[in-house]
Symmetry: C2
Subunit: 407 residues, 2 copies
């Protein structure tokens, strides 16, 4: 089976409709995923001090063990909306609980069993009449086929140009386990900013106490390892529901580790899809850092290189400008011996043990120009920890899109 | 007397020549400032782990009490040049000492009495034959008139479009004291990157033990409070020489504080000239942060807002996009109560105590579009500390210049 063919985990359904939050009626703006049984639910949320109402609500509700649904709207972020914003987020979960209970009265859902995400313009209130009308429609739209999942993924898009769904199925302890996710996030354009949302679903049986650190690890190696412009949103959220529909006792030991590895892979697949979809970007830049004392050190150096506008413009210009890359590493705030630093650009050694190496600039420049992928590999001599970080280049088109978004 | 009319402090001379480090012979590339008597010398240097040879040398020599000269070349940064780079930096100071000693044999100068700065391309060795021929020429060029000072300032320029010289003369304790400086730094374009150099000269009598904290304070409020792209260079250096030629005992108490205030002003004047000279930038953005617990908190929030590409592109597009500004403050890593945050853009209140305020977007947009200066004033409720931070907007022209620099 192809690893990336999309499969919804057993017992889950999904849907997406247009309810009128976005002005363009050819798009979708209300998404729902549902588990047919109570699921363990955990979340990782934005570290921005200014948190949107749905983030505040989900943070209160997770971790928990009886979640049934995640509802998400796009178009309005419900951020910087004060007490009314919190009432609106609460009402979204209550409306979903009510509609699901009506659809299946023998399995009533309580508002507290629903999580909520929003993305879009900041500082505007949700059009709750439209959302109230949309929720029964999206419940009616639920399905478990690929088309239903794609509608669900489309309904959370803002500046994304493609829906992002990824899935992996593996054998763990004699049972088939699936981890699937939908995500949104693209060029970080506009007042919705860098908002990145993801809902990851699995039918594996996982204890809440194991799910939280697993999601934290997966997010560190994926969504926390991408950046387009370093701007942390008010709404960034990654939610995980683990229903146990695959059967059996909660995973432990080697089985748990196998599931965590799959979770990391799915999150990485989803995360890399975000800078890959960077509107106005010509290159996906992978910064790989080896030889650090800790993974956190490696990630911090990778992020500092990835966030440097000088590095990003150099890649846009197909300029193998190693000085910008090495010196960005130097101000990451991580101690290292500069004389142990080496750098490869697209596999070509350009800097070795603190010293420039003669190389054919034209060849390396061509290798950048002729591919959408640019690989920067930085080697240090401080230890054995590594990390990868992904970003986009910085093009004139990016600036044009960001400067023109609103006015 | 106009505060900003340039005056060289008593006993100092300056000069600048072309010696051939730059390929364009219509420019200048070798600069010298000399004190006619031993001066206290202190420095503040780049925090980048990858430090250029002249930075390593000056760090060894300062603080000290017997400095006579600062020699600076532009065109080649003498960074990432290993042991040979350090030998070249040492030789530059020895050549200056030799030439000055020949010019005034009764006052011989030792190599250790000379400091050195370099800016330009990384990873190339200095053309020492050209520099060796240039040093006697720049010694012969020394003068104390405005033209000599301007040549000295021009000779440290790289992507700067204008020379940067600023000066203030004040009465302190019954004597006239002058603080003057030359600086370079502009659009942070190219492999010379964000390199910012400044030489600040004063005829005030200042003890070395007072000069170091004074310069650190002045740099925090000036050169550490500007950024164009957040990229810290391998060569950033601010040097201060205090000769005491104004006469009298070392300043203390209120007199010392008056001199420090003047030093801060001159450094601020020089620092703001750098983003003002941002090639490819249309706006100088001043971020003023009030109501923090500490100045460091306020500066950190100011820097985070100033470094956000989304804020910088919004200003380029004359977009009063308060959501980008408020949310950038939220990820600065400084705790604050979001419900106490207010924001003014060019004097217009757009966000008050955590809530958006209705305002005329067209009017505020016009105020951004019609002026080169944009003022962002963020108010918090954590205390009484304030800070200002300066940056440029991010335009498509900036990207074009940075992507095209080398290839």
């Amino acid at each position: 089976m192809p690893e990336n063919q999309f499969t919804l985990p057993k017992g889950f359904s999904a849907g997406g409709v247009y309810c009128g939050v976005k002005s363009d009626a050819t798009k979708l703006d209300l998404s729902l995923v549902v588990s047919d049984r109570p699921a363990v639910g955990v979340g990782v949320y934005t570290k921005n001090l200014v948190k949107a109402a749905p983030v505040l609500l989900d943070r209160e509700r997770t971790p928990g063990e009886r979640f049934r649904a995640i509802v998400t709207n796009s178009g309005v972020a419900n951020a910087c909306t004060g007490e009314r914003g919190m009432q609106d987020a609460l009402r979204m979960t209550a409306l979903v609980a009510e509609s699901l209970s009506q659809a299946a009265p023998h399995e009533p859902v309580a508002p507290e069993q629903v999580l909520v995400m929003s993305t879009g313009v900041i500082g505007e209130h949700l059009p709750m009449d439209k959302i109230a009308a949309g929720i029964p429609a999206v419940v009616a739209d639920l399905g478990s086929d690929a088309a239903a999942v794609e509608r669900s993924a489309r309904a959370i898009m803002t500046t994304d140009t493609v829906p992002k769904v990824r899935s992996r199925t593996v054998e763990i302890g004699g049972r088939r386990v699936t981890v699937s996710g939908v995500a949104k996030g693209a060029a970080m354009i506009g007042p919705n900013m860098a908002t990145m949302l993801a809902a990851v679903l699995t039918d594996a049986p996982v204890a809440a106490a194991d799910a939280q650190p697993a999601l934290a690890e997966a997010v560190d190696e994926s969504f926390h390892s991408i950046s387009v412009d370093g701007h942390t949103s008010t709404n960034d959220t990654v939610l995980l529901l683990a229903s146990g529909a695959a059967g059996g006792a909660p995973l432990a030991g080697r089985d748990l580790r196998a599931w965590v590895a799959t979770l990391v892979e799915v999150c990485e697949d989803l995360a890399v899809a975000i800078p890959t979809d960077g509107e106005g970007a010509d290159h996906l830049i992978t910064v790989e850092v080896h030889g650090c004392a800790t993974e956190a050190d490696a990630r911090r150096i990778g992020k500092t290189i990835a966030d440097s506008p000088l590095v990003k413009t150099a890649v846009a210009g197909a300029d193998p400008n190693w000085g910008r890359i090495v010196s960005a590493a130097g101000y990451a705030g991580v101690p290292f011996d500069p004389m142990e630093v080496s750098l490869l650009i697209n596999g070509a050694l350009v800097y070795e043990k603190g010293t420039p190496v003669p190389f054919d600039e034209a060849t390396v420049s061509d290798s950048i120009r002729s591919s959408r992928d640019t690989q920067l590999l930085l080697l240090l001599g401080e230890g054995h920890a590594t990390a990868r970080f992904w970003t986009t280049d910085l093009t004139a088109e990016y600036v044009r899109l960001n400067a023109d978004y609103r006015t």
